[in-house]
Symmetry: C2
Subunit: 457 residues, 2 copies
């Protein structure tokens, strides 16, 4: 079976890629209202590709962008795998930092360069092509359902209600997702935990209008300066976050768990070289890997205020704003943290400033057990296809809706991702390795066989 | 004479205003390359109006925008007044904060609303109309030369070389400038000192590309967060600037000088109400007026980094930037302060960040004596036209080229401004009172008579 799968992928790979490129060319940026039609076009494109491989399909309406539903039933007694992915992408700005236009995919050095090449068009499309491979070989041993959404990059705003509404259609035994990283194709891994996210936008208003910095500078508090001081104060000298109660629910790993985590290969020099940084710093007492996975963080994702054009303008601005997000770890809850942030931020503002805070999408952290049938099937598939037992890893990113799936659909979730952390997702020049794409399809196809076997046992 | 001056202004006031409006409609923003033709158009417009009132005129080429030169000689023995002003304006962004479009002047509540209504088109045009008044009345007692430049808002970049080149043409006895404020038409004042300006742009680069804040957040230092901390650290808890050596050359006023300054009427409640601020704070130990005039300041004029568009983006940005300016007081020197800033800013950056600093235009602080013929003539004119002896004031703004005029043209400078600090220059909804415009023309015309009289004595 493994050989037949590899042969099919080899003889159809060029078409797989060409289909993926067509999907990438649709700039389905869910955060930008001007891209609305493109997001819908991407949904329809995915639906049509599912139809082609023999699925019953439908675009399920939600309060926002539709869910692409697809279903292939092989038998009433076979186990059912629910595949989740998303057809929307992050904004591609700033465009000028891209070597080639973000929505015109190109191959360079064995990698696909484009917005969505990895996250999640590239990874999601592997799932569809893995199922195509099994269908065409007459060797699909499980029922499959597809749940491909269009609002992942804006916090899956409509998914909560939609999942509850369509819960019956999505009944199944295991959920399979490719939207995370693998350490390397030579060092396979499966993600067992993800961080959550709380995202708040803040706006300070000082004087009610922009002022001349000569007439007022020194006397009137400047919201840009004040915002800097407030943001500075959100972390102490050990880079611990100072928001009261922030660490209350943080799960502290045992010494054993931390030791296991430290087994993951990590080369600090190479890590910094890749980022072109002389040094870096995070919370005292934790390694870089720990700082970026098992510890919460606070980052300014955007900041703006005053005159940012060419040349100089001597303005004392009326307003300053920032987008600030916090990555959360088990068992922090995003709504609790967003509230604590807002309360604290308002409390530390000087009386000269009016504060407005707005919560953007959030999501809770996630952990999955390693003894489920799904996890074991994925581990077996990776071992067969990539040659090694996968390492269970804890990742720093977030898939906010995993907690929801756990709660509403009530099935184990397997995070079988094939991207690299260095793929530049969410930034310019996002890319995805051709090897990752094709070996991913192969491993996913094998997953279905391992899962069917283990389910029978 | 005073009566004839008032009558002439009254009967020609409507045309004066209409001419000023035409000048304002030319968006001569010197900082914006796209406005280049408009800046040149404004120069030509001013030249043509000078020609109309009987001046020999010329556009004197410089390395940047031309100087508008104008000369009216009444006799070889009469004293010569050199009028300085500028025909360029600040950028009007952000446009959406203007109640009416910035380059379409309108009258509202007795005020002209437009970019440049005050700074400096409105004030500069008073000078031209005052001379017209005297010329048409056959009562101009002094020779006049006009020096109207087009780069004041970008630091008079070409003026240094140009003034040296054209120094002979601009020989004279006193320089008269309307580009500052008056306390009120009911409380006349003359500016005796101005602050200087050092303006630096900084850019931090952390990782060489934008990163996913989930994969890297907590481990990789974020240039936006670091920039906030660095800016915060530039002032201590007493709002004193922490740059080493920053205060070395600051002139500390005597107790007597500070007492004199405190005589200026000031209503803290009204000041805050006008800004719609509950409170404000500046350097400890100084009053608001002092903080904004005799003490140096440090303001962020602009800050930007990361994603600043709609919605949310979970990016850990590669870069963060800010425009930071410092108002300087006698005897600080802008080049020295800019150097100290840059050296300090580079020194406090953590090893994770690459720092780039760029100096924008600067200017030295200025003080003028109160016993010169020019100052006494201006005081006498204001007393006659506005009814009270003017108060000598120290202002917070900067006219960077005054130090240059002092040095190269070597004549006393009289700062006879008629704007209010609340006119919103450099910000949205800049305005200028009609009364200020017309009473200004009247007072300036009287200045020529007082100056001629005092020169004879």
């Amino acid at each position: 079976m493994h050989t037949r799968i590899k042969e099919y992928i080899e003889s159809h790979g060029e078409r797989f890629l060409s289909e993926l490129f067509d999907l990438i060319r649709i700039p389905s940026v869910s955060a930008q209202p001007a891209r609305r039609d493109d997001v819908l076009k991407a949904a329809e494109y995915v639906r049509a590709r599912l139809e082609e491989i023999g699925a019953e399909t439908e675009l399920l309406p939600t309060d926002g962008f539709p869910l692409v539903y697809g279903k292939i039933e092989v038998s009433a007694t076979a186990p059912t795998v629910v595949v989740y992915g998303h057809y929307d992408v992050q904004p591609a700005e700033p465009f000028e930092l891209w070597q080639t236009p973000p929505f015109e995919p190109v191959l360079r050095d064995g990698k696909i360069y484009a917005r969505g090449a990895n996250d999640d068009k590239g990874q999601m499309y592997m799932q569809i092509k893995a199922v195509e491979t099994l269908v065409r070989l007459g060797a699909l041993p499980c029922n499959v359902k597809f749940l491909i959404e269009g609002e992942e990059e804006i916090g899956s705003a409509s998914l909560d209600a939609a999942i509850k509404k369509y819960a019956d259609r999505y009944a199944g035994d295991v959920m399979l997702i490719s939207d995370t990283s693998i350490i390397h194709l030579n060092t396979p891994s499966l993600t067992v935990s993800l961080r959550g996210l709380a995202y708040v936008e803040v706006e300070l208003t000082g004087p009610c209008r922009d002022l001349h910095s000569g007439h007022y500078g020194g006397a009137v508090e400047n919201p840009c300066n004040v915002l800097c001081s407030m943001i500075h104060s959100l972390r102490d000298e050990n880079y611990r976050i100072t928001i009261p109660g922030f660490y209350d629910d943080v799960y502290e790993l045992t010494a054993e768990e931390r030791a296991k985590l430290a087994e993951r290969p990590f080369d600090r020099t190479e890590y910094l070289r890749n980022l072109d940084m002389a040094d870096t710093r995070g919370e005292s007492g934790y390694s870089i890997l720990e700082q970026a996975s098992i510890r919460p963080s606070l980052d300014v994702n955007g900041i703006w205020g005053g005159y940012t054009g060419e040349g100089s303008k001597t303005v004392l601005p009326s307003k300053a704003s920032a987008k600030i997000s916090m990555r959360l770890v088990p068992h922090q809850r995003h709504d609790d943290i967003a509230e604590k942030f807002k309360k604290h931020f308002e409390a530390i503002a000087p009386p000269s400033m009016k504060v407005k805070t707005t919560t953007h999408h959030g999501g809770n952290p996630f952990m999955t057990p390693t003894d489920s049938t799904g996890y074991r099937a994925a581990a077996a598939a990776l071992k067969e296809c990539l040659g090694k037992e996968p390492i269970p890893t804890r990742e720093g990113g977030s898939i906010p809706i995993l907690a929801l799936f756990n709660e509403v659909l009530n099935m184990p979730i397997v995070l079988m991702g094939f991207g690299y952390d260095t793929d530049g997702i969410h930034g310019p020049n996002e890319h995805y390795g051709l090897d990752n794409f094709f070996r991913g399809i192969e491993s996913i196809a094998m997953f279905y066989h391992k899962y069917a076997e283990l389910s029978k046992a």
